[in-house]
């Protein structure tokens, strides 16, 4: 029979309590482990322990040809592989000094924005679920499925797409696919308004996010936050607008900025950003329709794979295919840094090439990794349940944090 034991301890001697959160905690978005030092229920320190999902991507990059590394980029921010693909191939193209066709630029822009919508939809669904709203999760996943269908119909894969190639795409788009995108975009805004009605005036949701995890613009910049986490603190920096790449300069859209700096501000920034992404996607799709008779891939058989049916008929194409698959193309010695605006923030690829077919060094500036540094600053003074809301509002993807 168990006897009740009492521990005698004077109240003064009770010091701060240490609580381990994660790496299997459902609200930590994968394998994030946070050690919380608590005073009662109030957080005094929040120390992150990373590395549970470290897969040595940067080391692998040095041992794979430039083409072979593309699938590895899918698995960094696995919620927006199209963005990662784009960032990586753009870095290689920059080192090569390669210009891609206008049609390819439009297609990449469209896919990056669809990836952003899909990434934010997952954040919206899981974030709301963590704060107690189940319905939004089901609704946002319905929309996400449609985006995955779109990806499946253009490249055959739903999740890890590996669609971009240096100098173009693995295959071209086609009219039925564009119709599918059009159908999705036509019905998306209605669903978006539904998400907003579910949350914007929801008392339970508001009490969990308003004035929680506040960080001011100066601190956010000092900590190097980018993406919605920075724009939620009133700092207007979006790589798409301020250091333009792809076709973002041509299109009409705005950067979403909020001043409050709390979880609500980050929520509003992301919601606004999805609307803007929708706008960009519509314009990119139109531009794609206009250029439908042009080539998508560049005309350089030394870099881009020849069409598969030609490989079976033409000797030249067979040789090129064989060389590209076995040896890869060579990149002249260069050091480049290419930054794009991923769904989580500034996604940068730092590439050093030595003239060979493999990268000499590939560094990945992953936005989630650096944004996570803000967690401690945001959490101090809030309760444990607020930490859940703050992690959700930062939206880290552990595949990208640990690489």
């Amino acid at each position: 029979m168990a006897t009740k034991r009492t521990i005698e301890m004077p109240v003064e001697s009770i010091e701060s309590m240490t609580l381990n959160m994660g790496p299997q905690h459902p609200s930590t978005h994968g394998v994030l482990r946070v050690v919380l030092h608590l005073d009662g229920e109030v957080v005094e320190r929040a120390i992150c322990h990373l590395g549970y999902l470290h897969r040595a991507k940067e080391k692998h990059a040095e041992h794979k040809t430039y083409h072979q590394f593309i699938p590895y980029t899918d698995r960094m921010d696995y919620l927006a592989p199209m963005s990662n693909n784009t960032g990586y191939v753009m870095a290689v193209e920059k080192a090569l000094g390669l210009e891609v066709t206008q049609r390819c630029v439009y297609l990449r822009t469209l896919l990056c924005e669809l990836a952003r919508i899909s990434g934010h939809l997952l954040w919206l669904g899981t974030g709301a679920l963590e704060l107690g709203a189940m319905t939004v999760f089901l609704w946002s996943f319905t929309q996400r499925e449609k985006i995955y269908d779109i990806f499946e119909w253009i490249c055959g894969a739903r999740f890890t797409v590996s669609y971009m190639r240096v100098g173009g795409m693995s295959r071209e788009d086609y009219p039925e696919w564009r119709r599918m995108v059009r159908e999705f975009l036509d019905q998306y805004m209605a669903a978006h308004r539904e998400f907003e009605t579910m949350l914007n005036g929801n008392e339970i949701f508001l009490s969990r996010v308003v004035d929680v995890g506040t960080i001011n613009g100066k601190d956010a910049l000092q900590l190097g936050l980018t993406g919605p986490a920075l724009r939620g603190s009133g700092i207007n920096y979006d790589a798409r607008k301020h250091t333009p790449y792809l076709a973002y300069e041509e299109f009409d859209w705005e950067v979403a900025v909020e001043d409050r700096g709390d979880c609500m501000a980050r929520y509003l920034v992301r919601m606004k950003e999805m609307e803007e992404s929708w706008k960009i996607a519509c314009q990119a799709l139109e531009a794609l329709e206009k250029t439908q008779n042009e080539r998508c891939n560049i005309d350089n058989p030394k870099i881009i794979f020849p069409p598969k049916e030609n490989v079976k008929r033409s000797m030249e194409d067979l040789i090129h295919h064989f060389l590209l698959a076995s040896e890869g193309f060579k990149v002249p010695p260069a050091e480049v840094y290419q930054a794009i605006e991923g769904p989580k923030g500034e996604l940068g690829f730092f590439l050093v090439s030595d003239g060979g077919p493999k990268a000499y060094r590939l560094g990945v500036r992953s936005p989630s990794f650096i944004n996570l540094q803000g967690l401690e600053k945001m959490s101090i003074g809030y309760t444990i349940s607020d930490v859940v809301a703050i992690i959700a509002s930062l939206d880290p993807v552990m595949g990208e944090v640990d690489r």
């Binding site: 990373l50 910049l221 190097g224 980018t226 050091e335 840094y337 500036r365």
Partner: protein, 190 residues
Amino acid sequence: MAVDLEKLKEELRNKMSEFFGEKIKDITISHDELVMEVEKDIIVEVCMKLRDDPSFQFDLLSYVTAVDYSALGREPRYGVIYQLYSVQKTHRMRVKAYVTEDDLIIDTVYSVWKTADWLERETYDMFGIIFRNHPDLRRILMPEDWEGHPLRKDFPLGGVKSFYFKRSTEPRAGEPKNLVPRIREQLSDI
């Protein structure tokens, strides 16, 4: 918003040479990117200047990493890379300082940008470069008892130590001996 890199380069050359003289080694533009190479002992002062000078205002430290040049046969062995961005001026640049193998120490820029905290920890973890005065220089991605620094060129892709799973019917320590022996996989050291 196009940035006039040539103008920025001239400005950098004038202001930086005035303050640091010979210690600014090279300012170049390649692939539309501005790169400045400096001596490692003035890195903090240079960064401070780049952040605070009204004509540069590099208020965001994008990225810190290192490159191991040993496989190219270049000396000094490591280049430490600081990728900067200015939210006000919307320009980017890269600062580079070299670290030799005998003296792996460079000052931390944590006092300039707090972003450097984890980024420098990662660089230390992967390359073994020691950032002097860093508040908490521990490994960040690899386990704390890991030996070696994985992104160095002399670190093999498969790791230094090898493990394999050996099939065994031996009972585990502390397990009753009279149980039916089961085949299970055990981690063994080669």
